[in-house]
Structures are given as C-alpha cells and as structure tokens.
Amino acid sequence: MNMLGNILNYQHFPIYAIMVLFLGSFLIAAFGENRAVRNVLALLSITAALGFAVALVKPVLLEGEIISYWMGAREPAGGYAIGIALEVDALSLFFALLVATAVFVSGVYSIQYMNRDHNEKEYYTLYLLLCGGVMGMVLSGDLFNMFIMVEILTFAAVALTAFRNTVRGAVEAAFKYLVVGCMGSTCILVGTAILYAQTHTLNLAQLAQLVPGEVNTATKLAFALLFVGFGTKAFIVPFHPLAADAHGAAPASISVIISGVLTKSGIYGIIRITYFLFQSMGLGTVQFLLVFIGSLSMFVCVTMALAQHDFKRLLAFHSISQIGYVLTAVGLCTALGVSAGLYHAINHTLFKGLLFLAAGAVLHETGTTDLNKLGGLAKKMPHTTVLFLIGAFSISGVPPFNGFASKWMIYQASYQKAVESGNIGFLLVTIIALVTSVLTLASFVKVSHSVFFGQLPPELENVREVSWGMRFAMGIFALLCIITGLFPNLVTAYLTEPAAAAVFSVKPYIEAMGFDGSAAAALEGGSFQCVGAWDPVSWLLVLCIALLAITIVAVAGKYDNVSRCRLSTVEDKYQLFYGGEKQELSQLGGDDLFWGFKHNWRAYFNYMHRLHSGIVNDYALWAVVDLALVTLFSLIVL
C-alpha cells in the first residue's frame, strides 16, 4: 500500500510522463506488428503522458511548487550535482502541458491519417520517440540531458520528415534538416562543454547559480553557441527555410509536432539560457537581440508565406512567423510581455496544429496540397472547412478567437515597453506586429479562397469528407482555440501568469534543487497590467444578440426568399455570371492573388526568392554567419 502510494506520488510524475512515451515507442517497435496492438499502445502512452502532465497542474502551476527529482535519488554531494535531475517549475510544466496536448491530439489524428501508409509500426516508434524527446527536454533539469533529448527529437523529426520518402522533396528536406539541425546540436554540445569546463556542473539550477558570476570570454561564447543551437530548434530566422521544407514533406501529424512542439522546445531553451543560466535579460542589448530576431522572423516569414503556393509550406512559414511573435514578446522582459508570449505559444500550438491537421485532411482526400490545383472543397468537406476557418481566424487574430487575445497582449506589452523605456524601436515592433497580423490574414484569405471556396475542379468531384477520427482530433484543437480565445482571463491566471512568474523567479528555481540562490540577479518583470480592455464573452454575447436581432429582422424582410438549384443539371439561372464559355473552369490561382501588394515590393520578393536558393550549403552558411554574428554580439555586450 505504501509502495503503491509511493509510486503514485506526484513527485514521480515527470519521469513517468517521459518514460511512458519512450516505453510506448520501444513496445511498439517490439510488438507493433498487429495494427490494433499498435494503436492501443500508442494511444495508451500518449494518454498517460497527458494524464501525468495534467496531474502536475495542481501542485506546480496552482500551488507554485517546484518539483526537483533526482534520478536514483542521487542528491547533490559536496555542493555539486552528481546525479541526473529533473526539475519541474511552472515554466517547464507549461511547456510539458503544451507538448502533451499536441501529442495527444496529433496521435489521435494519426490513427486514421496514416492508415494508407506502409510501415506504420516505424511511424509510431519514431513518433513516440519524438514526443518523448520533447517531453524530456522541457522537463529536464540538466543541460546535457537537454542536449540528448534535442538529439533524439532531431533524429526522430528528420526520420519522420523523410518518412514518406516518395513525396516530392521529402528526402531532400530531411537531409537539409539533418545537416543544419546537427550543426545546431553541435553548437549546443560545445556550449554545454564550455559551461562545464567553467563551472564543473551540468545541472541547470547550479549553472544558474554559478554562471552569472563567471562571465568571461568562454561563457560568452557558450551563450552564443547555446542561443544559436536552440534557435535552430525553434527555426527562427535564419533557419526558417528548414522548417518550410520539413513541413511540406512530413505527414501532417508530424508537422503538428514539429511546428507546435519542437519549435516550442527551442523557445523553452532560449528562455532557460537567457533568463536562468545567464540571467542576462536585464540587459537592454539582450532584449534587443531577442526582439530583433523575433521581429525579423515575424516579418520575413510572413512575406515568404505570401509568396508560397503550397498549402503546407505556406503554413510552415506562418508557423515561424508566429514563433517570431512569441520570441519578441518573451524578449520584452516584462510580466505582460512574457505572459503574452507564453499565451501566444499556447495559441500557436493550438491553431497551427489545427491548420496542419486541416491541410493533412485535404492532402489525405485529394492527394495534393498545391493551391493552384485545389478549390471549392467547402461543398465536399464542410466540417473540415469550418475547422480550418476557426484555425485561420485564430492565427490571423480575428476576435474573439485566441490569436487575437494573445496578439492584443503582445501589442500592449511592446507599446508599453516602448513608452516605459522611451525607446522608439519597440514602437516599431508594435507596428510590425500589427502589419504582420494583417498579412497573415491576407495569406489565409488566399488559402481559404483557393482551397475551400471558389470553384471545384472537375477532378475533385469525388472527394469526400474525412473520417470522424480526424475530424474529432481537429475538433479538439478547434474547441481549445475557442476556449482559450473566450476566456483569456482564465488562461492568463492559471497558465501563463504562473509560468511568467516562474520566468522571473530564478532564485526559487536554484534553491529548489538545494543550491544557494542568493546571488541570483532579481529580474523585475513589473506588474501584469493591461492598458486596454477586452472581454470576449461579453463581446460575443453582444455580437450574438445583434446577429439574432438582425437575423429576425432580415427573415421578416424576406431574407429567406431564396431560390436555389435543386436539379442535378445546373440551369442557366444558377450558373455563375461571367462572360466566357459555359463550362469553363475559371478558378483564380492562389499563386499570385495579392498582386497589388507584391507589385510594389517586387524587388524585395525577388531578392528573397533568390536568397532561399534551396542549396544546403547556403543554409549552412547562414547558420555559420548567424553564429558568428551572435558570438560577436555576445562578446561585445554580455
């Protein structure tokens, strides 16, 4: 009894959450020949991981406890951490929850999405490895373990990118991802090694205790290496082409993990090294670094997305654009900013997951994601369309969906930062963020027009709605999108604020592991205070009343005086009006829909097109140049 109680002690839950995923992976590799066994094993392990993560909400997020867990109970000896540790504070758990949710939904979706592929066994093995890697990384309390987990997830992600190796460009994308990803991993390892050489510890808490006191050339170099390494995982500029390539080729369920979870692990790493290890966020210059790269990612990727004509590739660029929002907000280093950034991280996982799943549904039914070949699917796939629209509205920040709530906070945070610091540069960030949001809307208008609305090409006449399992998975994301959009107060109060508070409380983080945290720099995030007002529930209520009133009036005014075609052959009256031949398909291609915008920016777009050459050496060069610049930057300012 006591033993059972000991096993079920929530102190053990973090390691359980990681282990069930890895265990599921190995079990599937061993016994996964049978389809039913495989599915049950996969579902069990992802559900268990989600359950363990949710069970930790009460102690960690609500009560503010920091779980420190030493593997094999090897507590620190002589003031030095010897054992391998897990440390779960609100920030870790926040990301773990995101991971668990995304993994769960994507897993449910996979079961029917992957049913036409061969080698499902390998798929689930790799899938659970990937998930376990991310989960392990965000819960780890040890820098080297973070590296190991990063390697595992990179490997699994690369293998899964190339999983459908007959898809155009899949192997190519995987190779590019592998090369640049390994360069990033190498950077992390070298950074870890340097930190170890300086401090003789790998424990995050102890590093946080020791590193800030030991700022020299070597640790500055380590900062740059770690920053670039985790940047590779988050695909922030200049690593964004990899994300685009990988997403385009990977199965949709993997894209969800790569964009919703893997990038978050990069962001998590960046938060850990900037706020905790080096505690350098008090410096305006480091804030500048994060905000600059964030804004750059935001804008460059959204413009790149406008020029795409592949559904998933477009979504991939948007994914990085939204990661730019997160990084920018986190880089503001205010309570509102960090909270907004984390909020946007949740939302990004949800809506981007939803969108990728919708893209996957389209791919599953039509066999293509080329915007120029699709159209009019709303009549064939009505539920997918509605779910996609929820995702599209969310990402473009249409009230009352969740994207608006977090973007609204980001604008306020950046503008407030600009006013408080008197730095007009932050004002530019607000403006870029607002404009980016509109451009995001534009490209989703493009997608919805060229995929779901418009005319149906004749070869898609036999398309059917996807199976209920896939719709169910998308429905979960859509529901979460709406809930997080409608109750921003709850989300901030119970999820992001504790996490943001954890970001600003380095001292408890160090002390929870039994080290001396008195020397930790006390970063002050300021109070969490919105300058505007936004109450989505009341707003929605008002909108509904208005809509209802208008509908009643409209119906009274013969709004329903509708005639529509009920015959199988379409009469002239119900044909579209245009001056061409009767049966001509005149769907507008998605390729160049916003010509009026791109025309004025053609020099920029042409330049960007040339720059993203697709040659792996170029991307490697960007990585090296980025590393060199960040190194130079950190050597000068840190």
């Binding site: 080297f144 190991i148 390697e151 490997f155 690369v158 293998a159 190339a162 190796n165 155009r168 460009g169 192997v171 190519e172 994308a173 995987a174 190779f175 590019k176 592998l178 090369v179 390994c182 360069m183 991993s185 190498t186 390892l189 070298v190 870890t192 090694a193 170890y196 050489a197 003789h200 790998l202 685009a244 390539d245 385009g248 080729a249 020029a307 795409q308 590739r313 097109h609 993203h612 050459s613 697709g614 040659i615 792996v616 050496n617 490697a620 060069l621 090296v624």
Partner: protein, 116 residues
C-alpha cells in the same frame, strides 16, 4: 599541451563547418559533419583531462579527498556524443543514398527542388 588540444578541437569543428559550407558533394558534407563531431569529442575529452590524474574507477570506500583522477563526466558525455555522431553519419548516408536514387546526383547545387 592541453591548449593544443583545445586549438585542435576548435580547428576540427571549424574544418567541419568549412566542409559543410563550401563542399557541394553530399558525401563531403557528411564527412564535414563527422569532422565537426570529432572536434567536439576532442574538446569534451580535453575538458575532463587532469594532468597526472588516474582513471576514475573507484568504489565508494576508496573515494577520499586526496584521490586525484580525470573528470569522468566528460568521458561519459564523449561516449554519448560518439554514439550520436555515428547515428548522424548513418542516417545522413542513408539519406544520401535515397537522394542519389531520386535525383541521380549527389551535387547539392542540383538538389534544390524545395526553394523560394
């Protein structure tokens, strides 16, 4: 002496990066990755090296404050890193084979269907 190790380690890493950036042959790219990896391994080992230390093999009772040995942690790290390096090489070579099958070339300048 140990300084030479550090210099060599960073030289190897730099060499690997140089190969990745400038060589258009996929196999050479993979070699570059491996070289960089060896550089990291060398770096790790050098960090743990204490001149004159013994092998870090003790039982609990043998351990006291006078024992002088090389740091075992970087050695463990190195082992992990070597394993990972081998994985990278294996995986990337597998991908190179697939690429050669699909594209008929191993020149990176021609493997660029995904661009823009």
């Amino acid at each position: 002496m140990i300084l030479l190790n550090y210099i060599a380690a960073f030289f190897l890493i730099g060499l690997g990066m140089y190969a990745i950036v400038t060589k258009y042959n996929l196999v050479k790219t993979v070699i570059g990755l491996s070289i960089a990896d060896y550089g990291v391994n060398l770096l790790l080992i050098s960090i743990g090296f204490n001149p004159g230390g013994t092998a870090p093999i003790f039982t609990w009772s043998e351990l006291d404050y006078n024992s002088f040995f090389v740091d075992p942690v970087p050695q463990a790290l190195t082992l992990t890193s070597i394993v990972i390096g081998a994985c990278v090489t294996a995986m990337s070579l597998a991908l190179v084979i697939k690429l050669e099958e699909q594209y008929g070339t191993i020149d990176t300048r021609q493997i660029r269907r995904l661009r823009g």
